[in-house]
């Protein structure tokens, strides 16, 4: 367990200086403060005596609460959180809220009762207000995928709407006139944001988003597969399918290829998330990159910060933005109109 002396030695200052940085930082020059804070982070020193005792006596544990554990996106969150927690020697317990309000709350409370000093939740069912209330009971609550202003410093959010807008913009700007949408019926919060992104981009291009071009299914391979089956029955042809996530996109591609359709030559397919499968599937999937690994690392850092009572979180929270990953499942449509340009 690092002591104040270790920090002082590493930062090349006196222990009194370290103490000042921790307790009365306004009396210390910026240069010194930064030096000492870096040493504190590097050594994982815990300034607060109570928190130190906690770490000394018990294994530090953080909890993670997700909707379905069998969902590949959720499994990726768990994988990444564990990866970073392992580096800090933190044990991770995972539970599920089954996409149900009271079960999500119960899961968080149970993990806290089991000894988790902090709980990270990716809620599907609870409203922002309900999460805010929960955060009062659970001091170490960290919220993924929401921005709740009263507890901003514990929120990590990803701009789902912008992500969907980016994907739509790419298709519309590359000659795709008829776009089919495959959306999720079991992820209401995320699906709504992504659909909003699609709608707003259509409006920007002065196009109408036709409800009949949207198919709904579960946010997994078979959900995508059956949506593609429905799309094939329609009389309306389309040149691209924009999917809620990679898992559904992979299902869509499987069905389309089964039906003898070449991807991307005949139909382009776009996913969302950029999970490992997006790189490894055939053809590799154009998708929106969701920086799960970076967010997981930050969530674990925030948890550690709360547990060790360092209290230097970013007051405005942590926001992450989408990037379009272009791969081989899409192509530009060259229409006579485009050629004349």
């Amino acid at each position: 367990m690092p002591t104040i002396k270790d920090v002082a030695r590493l930062a090349n200052v006196s222990t009194a200086t370290v103490s000042r940085v921790v307790n009365t930082p306004e009396h210390v020059t910026l240069e010194t403060k930064l030096k000492v804070q870096q040493a504190i982070v590097d050594l994982k020193y815990i300034p607060n005596a109570n928190a130190r005792q906690l770490v000394k006596d018990d294994k530090v544990m953080i909890g993670v609460v997700l909707s379905e554990l069998s969902d590949p996106f959720n499994a990726t969150i768990v994988h990444e959180v564990e990866h970073f927690a392992r580096q800090l020697g933190i044990q991770v317990l995972v539970s599920t809220g089954c996409s149900n309000k009271s079960k999500e709350i119960q899961a968080v409370l149970r993990l806290q009762a089991d000894g988790c000093n902090s709980v990270i939740i990716y809620s599907v069912a609870l409203s922002d207000l309900e999460l805010l209330q929960l955060s009062k009971e659970v001091k170490g609550l960290i919220v993924l995928n929401r921005f709740i202003s009263d507890i901003a410093s514990r929120c990590l959010s990803f701009d789902n709407q912008a992500g969907a807008a980016l994907a739509t913009e790419y298709l519309l700007s590359n000659g795709h006139q008829n776009i089919a949408i495959v959306s999720a019926n079991n992820k209401p919060v995320d699906a709504k944001k992504r659909l909003n992104g699609i709608k707003s981009t259509f409006e920007k291009h002065r196009r109408q988003l036709n409800q009949t071009n949207i198919e709904y299914g579960e946010s997994n391979f078979w959900g995508g597969y059956s949506c593609a089956e429905q799309l094939l029955k329609k009389t309306q042809t389309f040149s691209a399918v924009l999917c809620f996530n990679d898992s559904m996109a992979v299902g869509v591609i499987a069905k389309l290829r089964q039906a003898g359709i070449c991807i991307p030559q005949q139909i382009s397919v776009v996913g969302f998330d950029d999970l490992v499968i997006a790189q490894k599937c055939e053809p590799p999937l154009t998708t929106i990159h969701y920086p799960v690994n970076i967010m997981a690392r930050k969530a674990v850092e925030v948890a550690w910060n709360i547990i060790s009572q360092q209290n230097n979180l970013n007051e405005s929270g942590y926001q992450y933005f989408p990037v379009l990953k272009l791969r081989s499942s899409t192509q530009t449509i060259v229409s006579p109109h485009n050629e004349n340009n």
Binding site: N50, L54, D58, K59, M61, E68, L69, S70, P72, A75, T76, V78, H79, E82, H83, Q91, V92, L93, V94, S95, T96, C98, K103, Q106, A107, L109, R110, L111, Q112, A113, D114, G115, K139, F221, W222, Y225, V250, G251, I253, A254, R257, Q258, V276, I277, K280, C281, E282
Partner: protein, 365 residues
């Protein structure tokens, strides 16, 4: 973790008084209540529901220890567990152990400390003996995909011998003599079991297995690609490829098709697990259906039942699950004169198999 005793000590009162405050019972002076509340805040104490259930133990939750939940095999296990627990109002608390014995043991100890009565364990490294010892501490301990003779009634496992038989029967049916094998890492218990049954049964049917046609992979899509590349580059003849999981098969088939080799006309392929990968190729590939989800459902129900009634009588035949063959379209009889054409070797020389990166185990098993 802080207990009532710690709070009592800090507040300078008896644990009984602290308990009254926590349960909102009368008979506590304002001063004492304040002291206790201050102590609770300073120690960051929260009531431990589990400790309260000390006599009965923790019945409303099930502890699960799996290496990960990201690969299709373990994802199916979790799915099966979720099917049963969501109906039963039982909560899942999951520990990922990354195939590390120390983590598995640490997880078990945490669950025991929290008095979990039902636990599902997947471990390839903890010894039989040690697991048997743990059954004393956890009445509802159930072992997944591993058979431990002494506690067979608590073990849910797949009949790998039947699986191997199905694969060999299919190879014989389509008259394959030159068989390539893309195997899983042998650190996985079930993989070495599966492979040794397979070798035995092949031998019994008089089919020779060439050592040069056996490639060990890391169980991923990339691993399948690299392995089939090695085989093609070696110039050896093969007409069928046995893959011990679907991810490997997916990688192998994509690579073969990119080289212009047709499945099944030139090479037949069988995968394992019947996961979504088998539906992602054209044609869909033959695979062995392993009822992992059903096994997990059975394991969960058993873990819950055993916790309630430790002396439950169990027919251990209910714990054995039988795989079956999924006949897609990747098996065919290869013409006697057919051989993978040498001009492909030039094309594949451009391909660089990647170095094994241990962190990238996202699609193993």
């Amino acid at each position: 973790m802080k207990t009532i005793k710690d709070v009592a000590l800090k507040a300078g009162v008896s644990p009984a008084l602290v308990s009254r405050v926590l349960n909102n019972k009368p008979g506590v002076s304002t001063l004492a209540r304040e002291k206790i509340q201050t102590a609770i805040n300073e120690l960051n104490y929260y009531p431990n529901q589990n400790a309260r259930a000390l006599n009965k133990g923790n019945l409303s939750a099930i502890g699960v220890i799996l290496p990960n939940i990201i690969t299709p095999y373990f994802s199916s296990i979790v799915s099966g567990i979720e099917n049963v627990t969501s109906n039963n109002e039982v909560q899942i608390v999951l520990n990922s152990s990354s195939f590390d014995q120390d983590k598995e043991l640490a997880a078990l100890n945490t669950l025991i400390q929290q008095r979990y009565q039902s636990v599902i364990l997947f471990s390839t490294s903890i010894s039989d003996q040690r697991i048997v010892e743990y059954t004393d501490k956890v009445p509802g301990l159930v072992i997944f995909d591993r058979k431990i003779k002494e506690i067979e009634q608590r073990c849910i496992w797949l009949d790998d011998q039947v699986a191997a038989q199905l694969m060999v029967d299919e190879l014989v049916k389509f008259q394959h003599q030159h068989i390539a094998i893309l195997d899983l890492p042998h650190s996985l218990l079930h993989s070495s079991r599966r492979f040794s049954y397979f070798k035995q049964i092949l031998k019994a049917r008089g089919i020779k297995l060439s050592a040069g046609l056996i490639e060990q992979t890391d169980g991923t899509i990339q691993g399948g690609q690299d392995a089939i590349y090695n085989l093609l580059a070696s110039g050896q003849k093969f007409t069928a490829v046995i893959c011990f999981n679907d991810a490997i098969a997916y990688g192998a088939i994509n690579f073969l098709q990119k080289q212009g080799i047709s499945i099944p006309q030139e090479v037949s392929v069988i995968g394992f697990n019947d996961s979504t990968y088998s539906k992602m190729t054209v044609p869909n590939f033959h695979t062995i259906h392993t009822p992992i989800k059903k096994m997990a459902e059975r394991a969960t129900q058993l873990a819950i039942d055993l916790a309630k009634k430790p002396d439950l009588s169990i027919d251990k035949n209910d714990n054995i699950f039988t795989p079956h063959l999924v006949k897609n379209h990747s098996m065919a009889i290869v013409r006697p004169d057919a051989e993978i054409k040498p001009e492909f070797y030039g094309a594949i020389k451009e391909y660089q198999p990647r170095h094994i990166d241990n962190d990238n185990d996202n699609d193993k098993v």
